[in-house]
């Protein structure tokens, strides 16, 4: 019988080895899945992991990695701060939607005026919108002790209805022949979050994501607030003795997460997506939770996890179209990747030992 024994120190070697082992294990298990479905497992694995990065058309896919990864990283960074302090915001999807609505709303209100100040205003409106939406669970928690998991999740559905109503009503494109959806902000230069260097995939959202990573890193390692966040998560009682104000922490953590999610929504609607439409949101807010934990709630880890998730999405699409793999198989494959990454992580903090007796 195998037994886990806690290491006195996390193993440095396994911190780096674990993801590698997990990816290899996923390739084996995923390959088996693809083989069962009648596809060549080696070709499938190569299509998902290798082709987007190094194939003939990598010049197109590499920038796409940034486009797909940026909102994930931006949202996950915000969430990770709260998660570290034991504050469970699982409604980032709603904050993302509302940020997109307020951001786009400001832009559309100025149409067709051109001016340098419009885009910055939209950025502020987006952050503010996400922040305000996150303040609802935050204030309810601080004031009434209401559970933030439930409130933030319920507000996702409310935000979705709000989005539909905006796309069908207030923000509908007057020149859209009655069809739902707003004007395309890509065709409104002052409000367009365009690529900074054409063909690079770098738009302001990517820049914001990178800034957020650095900001979170500095905050957590150098700033007293970061210390309070970590302390609250690891030892709540000690935190209270250390003078941490839990209510303030809830407001700050949820507010930051909301603002970042709102920013992500705003950059998405004004750039890659372009329009407010009924189906504008595609689940970034939920996927970001996975990204946050996959990155072990560490800013740099989140950056890498976000890019990895983006890679599986992009590679998965290529595999669907080239090999005829069903989308469901790709979803299962992503699930497996997560399972292995999470499972192998145990070896960082524990070592396997042979034991005679069963442990409880």
């Amino acid at each position: 019988m195998l037994k886990l024994e806690k290491r006195p120190q996390p193993s440095q070697a396994w911190i780096y080895l674990a993801p590698l082992v997990a990816v290899i294990a996923t390739m084996i298990a995923g390959g088996a899945l693809f083989a069962i479905l009648g596809k060549d497992p080696l070709v499938a694995i190569r299509t998902i992991f290798y082709d987007p990065l190094f194939s003939e058309f990598a010049f197109f896919y590499r920038p796409q990695l940034l486009v797909k990864g940026a909102p994930l990283v931006l949202i996950a960074i915000g969430l990770s701060l709260g998660f570290r302090a034991g504050i469970w915001n699982i409604g980032a999807e709603g904050q993302y939607i509302v940020g997109a609505l307020t951001g786009a709303g400001v832009g559309l209100a100025f149409y067709p005026l051109e001016g340098w100040f419009i885009f910055p205003l939209m950025v502020m409106a987006g952050a503010l919108g996400g922040w305000a939406w996150a303040m609802i669970p935050a204030v309810l928690k601080v004031r009434f002790g209401t559970n933030e998991i439930l409130v933030s999740l319920m507000l996702v559905y409310v935000a979705e209805q709000l989005l539909a109503s905006m796309a069908l009503g207030l923000m509908k494109n007057p020149q859209g022949f009655g069809f739902p959806g707003s004007r395309n902000l890509q065709q409104y230069p002052s409000a367009h979050n365009a690529e900074l260097i054409a063909g690079s995939g770098m738009h302001w959202g990517v820049v914001a994501a990178l800034i957020a990573v650095i900001f979170a890193y500095v905050l957590l390692t150098r700033h007293i607030l970061g210390f309070h966040i970590r302390l609250t998560g690891e030892a709540p009682r000690a935190a209270r003795f250390a003078g941490v104000n839990p209510a303030r922490l809830v407001l700050i953590c949820l507010g930051l997460a909301g603002a970042l999610a709102g920013l992500a929504g705003m950059f998405e609607v004004s750039g890659p997506a372009g329009r407010v439409s009924i189906d504008f949101n595609v689940g970034y807010g939920f996927t970001a939770i996975i990204v946050a934990f996959l990155g072990r709630l560490h800013p740099v880890g989140i950056l890498l996890a976000g890019l990895l998730m983006a890679l599986t999405y992009i590679g998965g699409e290529i595999a669907q179209s080239r090999l005829g793999l069903p989308a469901a198989a790709i979803q299962m494959f992503q699930g497996m990747l997560l399972f292995f990454l999470l499972a192998v992580d145990v070896l960082t903090n524990y070592r396997l030992r042979l034991a005679r007796r069963e442990v409880a």
């Binding site: 886990l4 439930l150 145990v346």
Partner: protein, 306 residues
């Protein structure tokens, strides 16, 4: 506007049906969380149960066998989660979300070829005399069997948690796993069993949708009900009867808003569509005077140090 066209008796009856899948999934998750484990994979287990139940029902022609298969399917997926979180000590939030992803994919693969198939119909309760009673008969005594089974599970969980030794141990494990371990309880074994129970319940909740409520198989057909079930456990402050209340409240508001629409009430549809979520929040705020807390060990990883 014609409110008189809303029939209260029928409304109450359909509320019970609308709430049943939520109720089953939520009561299962409640047991899991009372054992100190947070499994966010309810949606994935529900949809897996939905297709397992559907496939077995169609192939055997026996809907009851389908429900059993759904429970087994849900539990099988939960076993993956149990292995990850209890044996490999993986993070529960991420594992649960991964489970949802995996379950949605798995169910879609199993479900290929089951589109457009009509499952065998489900037996309903019909007690001569009782089912024919004017008002009560329609509300209480003329549903399909799963509606009663759902209620039975809630009662059983309540009784088990409150009055039995097993319930006491389960709660001890959820409140303080180190102390429970010190007392000699097998923390991991208990938690794994709770997780399997949760999976089985979620699977049956999913099968209720694919076999009775809709009934058909479509990819992703649970459409987020698993998430609502998760929220309901929190709403209920981890108390079984409140899960029932929450499920009826949520199902009730959903049915009422559709009723109001059909009756032509002059409230904008988007607000009506939001109402189940807003009212759930509102009721939670009102009930927040109750300070019962989540199980203290919820979501924390347990490893026996010796």
């Amino acid at each position: 506007m014609d409110l008189s066209s809303i029939n209260l008796v029928l409304l109450l009856a359909s509320l019970m049906v609308a709430a049943t899948p939520l109720l089953l999934a939520a009561i299962g998750e409640l047991v899991v969380e009372r054992a100190g484990v947070l499994n966010l994979g309810v949606e994935g287990m529900m949809i897996t149960g939905a297709i397992c139940g559907f496939a077995i029902s169609v192939n055997t022609g026996n809907p009851l066998l389908g429900v059993v298969a759904a429970a087994l399917g849900g539990a099988a997926l939960a076993l993956v989660f149990a292995a990850l979180t209890q044996l490999a000590l993986a993070n529960q939030v991420a594992s649960g979300l991964g489970l949802t992803l995996f379950g949605l994919g798995l169910s879609a693969l199993i479900g290929q070829g089951y589109q457009g198939v009509r499952p065998p119909s489900f037996p309903r309760l019909s007690i001569p005399g009782l089912s024919d009673l004017p008002v009560v008969g329609r509300i209480l005594f003329s549903h399909d069997l799963m509606v009663y089974f759902g209620l039975l599970v809630v009662a059983a969980v309540w009784f088990m948690l409150k009055y039995t030794r097993a319930g006491l141990i389960l709660r001890a494990v959820g409140e303080n796993h180190d102390a429970a371990h010190a007392l000699g309880y097998k923390v991991k074994r208990i938690r794994i069993m709770a997780i399997l129970f949760g999976g089985a319940c979620a699977g049956m909740g999913g099968a209720y949708i694919s076999l009775i409520r809709v009934p058909q198989w479509t990819e992703g057909m649970t459409a987020g009900i698993g998430w609502i079930a998760l929220a309901l456990v929190v709403f209920a402050s981890w108390k079984p009867w409140r899960v029932l209340l929450g499920a009826y409240l949520f199902g009730g508001v959903t049915v009422i808003q559709l009723n109001l629409q059909a009756a032509g009430v002059a409230i904008p549809v988007e607000y009506l569509a939001m109402s189940p979520y807003l009212i759930t929040i509102l009721v939670l705020v009102i009930m927040s005077a109750d300070k019962s807390k989540a199980p203290a060990s919820l979501g924390r990883i347990f490893h026996a140090s010796r």
